[in-house]
């Protein structure tokens, strides 16, 4: 008898809790959509052609982000909106811009730079043709790195090392 009363009271309280939860209505889809659209407006610098639809607490995002970092930050912030159950992220990330082409120095600039760089290496002859530095002659192995380091700062197209290394 005592146990069945306990059981009954437990069931009653569980029922009460359940009905309370059921009665308390969460944010409506329209409210969620409004909140998400505000976030889109705030992130307008990072996203193009943005759109959001909400159904039963599930947010579907579209648009294009400038990079992956802003995309994931935005998804996290949408998940934090009250009432959002999940996010279907259909947004994309813009392709990275192509790197600027390599700019090489002119023969004139290179000749001046090469003269300075080879001054301390009397055995080395450096020729410049079509922005390529061609090295001939001889050098000590210990000095090679030094010479190569200075030549590499001159912005040549390439360096052809035909030196005899002693």
């Amino acid at each position: 008898m005592r146990t069945s009363i306990l059981k009954l009271s437990f069931m009653l309280s569980a029922f009460a809790m359940f009905s309370l939860t059921a009665c308390k209505s969460g944010p409506k889809d329209a409210d969620i959509e409004k909140a998400v659209n505000e976030k889109i407006a705030a992130a307008s610098a990072d996203i193009a052609d943005a759109g959001a639809t909400v159904k039963d607490g599930v947010v579907t995002l579209t648009g294009q982000f400038k990079d992956e970092a802003s995309r994931s930050t935005f998804e996290t912030s949408v998940k934090a909106v009250p009432g959002v159950k999940s996010v279907v992220n259909n947004t994309t990330v813009a392709a990275a811009p192509a790197p600027a082409p390599v700019v090489v120095a002119s023969d004139e600039q290179l000749k001046q730079g090469v003269r300075d760089a080879t001054k301390d290496f009397p055995g080395v002859t450096a020729e410049v043709k079509d922005s390529v530095i061609i090295l001939t002659g001889e050098i000590k192995r210990a000095s090679l790195k030094n010479l190569m380091q200075s030549l590499n700062t001159l912005k040549p197209k390439k360096i052809q090392n035909n030196l005899t290394i002693k």
Partner: protein
Amino acid sequence: MALQDKYKELLDAARNGGVSNLQVREQDNVLYIDGEAPTGDVKDQLWAAYNKIDPDYRAGDVVMNVNVAAGAAGTKALVTTDSTNLNIRKGPGTDQPIIGKAAHGALVTLISKANDQWWLVKTEKGEEGYAYAQYLTPQ
């Protein structure tokens, strides 16, 4: 991309060494690596990695323009010639007259950078002129 695979160890060293403004570009079968190394040690590591992959730099498929970040005016730089004095010149070029010398191992003060090759410096004796950057290591 083939060259980036060949020189992967070098590129990893650049990334892990904290090279700033790092640019890696492949064009006409040459790999161009540009950036600024935080210290002379990092630059040395890069050149060691380069020499390991391409001994004596024979392949001609890399142009690595990674210099030690010079820092602001007033930075001290060590004279890192092999053993000789470093010429201080009136202008940026070996055709310019020599107006002073900085001893091997001495410190000079950086005033400004004329370009990647020539820096305007002031010696401990107060001589002001251009020195070849290859022989200066910012401290």
